[in-house]
Amino acid sequence: MEALRQPCMSHEVRGEEDVKCVLCSRKAVSDLCTYHERAKRKVEAGYRTWTKAYGEIEWKDYLDKVKRNGQTGQWAKEIAGMLEGL
């Protein structure tokens, strides 16, 4: 499923230096900081709920709607924007 695609590595691991989150300046675990990582899991889980609610919804359409929704949290919006661009 498209939703399970991982973001591409946008940085190089440089020796012992801290790796920064691709979306903010916090220390990253892989590509994302712990906050954005958690938000990513929420966005992915949300897709299942939205699919059930609408019967059918395209992954990109879902991301666009989540990104524009006024109730969506800041980190979830940033994740939706990032996943949309992949």
Binding site: D18, S25, R26, K27, Y35, R38, A39, K42, V43, A45, G46, T49, W50, K52, A53, Y54, G55, V66, N69, Q71, T72, G73, Q74, W75, A76
Partner: protein, 693 residues
Amino acid sequence: MASTASGYTLVICEKPDAARRVAEALSGGGAQNSAADGVTVFKFTSQGEDFVVCSAQGHVYAISDPFEERTVYPVFDVEWYPSNLVEEKSASAARRIGAIRKLAGGAAKFVNACDFDTEGETIGFNVLRYACGSKEREALRAKFSTLTKDDVMVAFRQAKPQAGQGLARAGRARHLIDFVWGVNLSRVLSQSALSSGHRYRTISMGRVQGPTLAFLVEREIEIREFVPSPFWKVSGTFEKNGTRFTAGYSKERVGSRATAERDRDDCRGKEGVATSVVRSAVQVPPPPPFSTGDLQKEAYRVFGFPPSRTLQIAERLYLSALVSYPRTGSQHLPPSINYRAILQGLERLGRYSKVAKDLLGSALNPAQGAKTDSAHPAVHPTGEVPRGHLNPPEAAVFDLITRRFLAAFGPPAKRELVTVRLSVGGHGFVLGGGRTMYQGWIGSYDSYASTRDTSVPDMALGDRFRVVRVDIEERFERGPSRYNQSSLLEKMERENIGTKATRADIISTLVERGYVEGGDMMVTDLGLAVIETMEKYAPVIVTTKLTRKIEERLEEVEGEARGDAELVRETVRSIAEQLVGLSANEDLVGREIDAALAVTVAASHVLGPCPACKSGQLRIIRSRKTRKRFVGCSNYSSGCRASAPLPQRGTIKTTPNACPHCSWPVVYVMDGRTPWRLCVNPVCPTKSEGKKT
């Protein structure tokens, strides 16, 4: 109190206004005020006894360490010092201590008449010990909850020495623990950030501040990672005897669009029937009188006053003898406050006279809440008529306290609630309404009562109606709401951290430190980083467990069930253990906090989108050459020349608002006068009219 053979009775009050009130009450208005070393004191003779009434100015002694270096930690060797040696703003403390010391030399008897609570006890204890020559044991204690003449007279007649001094011991222990806690953690955090990023900023971490910030951070994370789920709301518009009405669906939310559409289609063209009509009469009991927290929450709800402001206003009303002592955990009004006398006093105040008169004609049994406080009753008016003009916020808080007091004596209100259940082709709809049948206490509480009437159409069981239409509306789940100052105060109360006197100030400190911003208490990157770091390297500090345990132990010290020394020792040991974790990781701690600090500082300089180039951000910039600040666009290097001058004095605070006339950002300028709004656009149309936006 017996008169003394030689020397006078020296009365120590907490504040100058309280001293004036106490002197007026005891002397019957005949006290002479004079200056002793520039400090006003009141002298008079009553029943053959000479009195001198003087006052501290809040805390004139403070805990500190012998090192003035903020780089030194750990610090465990601390002592009480005159406040002027500790804080610059307490310069007048030296003069006041000197005056009290001189007056103590001629005194034969001492009376501690400071506010009767932990802080007041601590202030009185320290003055009697350090300025009066260890008189804290022999001094008499006058305890009162209002500064009215009668209460003060009774308090002085019943004054006696304090036995175990539990309140003062608990107060002093609290100050000591909080100092050791705050100074060590703040120094380690600030120094770590400084050595990592070469910028100094106070990163404080108080005993109650840490867990309170942790609540905010926990909620902030939930808000920022929130993904709303869609749902559908179904409602029906129906008609009976030519009258249309709307009813909600029995299922509040329908989780799928297909189900909502199917339910809507099922109802089309059908006739509905009322399957149940339930009318019930309920009694709404009067609300209990105000504890400090209740007053702060209610003033926030009805006036939008932050809790710290409400407490300051209530304190001024107390010093004017208009209301009782406002720092209380009690929701009780004991008969000893003399309900009748207070109501007779309120009868003289035009807008309360009718309600007070009506109440005086019946038995007086006020509503009482569950919370009690052995030191003071719930906040209530004294029945005194304001002597001078009250400013609007004072008048508002006075009115709120008085109306709540009157409401507590009122009879229960009676309301009729109606619930009508409707069925349309097997799908349920509900109509609900309510109206006040008898106002009772609601009449006394006036516009502060939040009950509203909602009517339902006349409907009986089995009545039939026509379906006009059924609508479905797509909605989204709402994200968790941020704490506001009132709900955060409530959370602190529920978690039993902080005291009624300190909670409001702790909330204000979180804003001052830059951990949260705005009225909606949004946590900044700095606030997030501080909690994240503490959870990693000193987790105990930000959990409620330790701080709540300390509060419980302090209560035991207050009640003289436990000594203070053991508690202080145990707490200092816990702090030392946590400091080890932080010091060992100073480099990592510093890097994490410094990175967040950089983001927070940068964000505080961003004013908003540039109206000239539309893609850059207007920022506050300081010229390297002139050191003057001005507004410039982040797209300067790409050619955007939008810029504007800024006032060079005072603090500039960014706002999310744009000027309605020119779309340039609006800032607040705080330069010692009343803060004022400024549109940064130098050619804003409003400026040509010679006005500030």
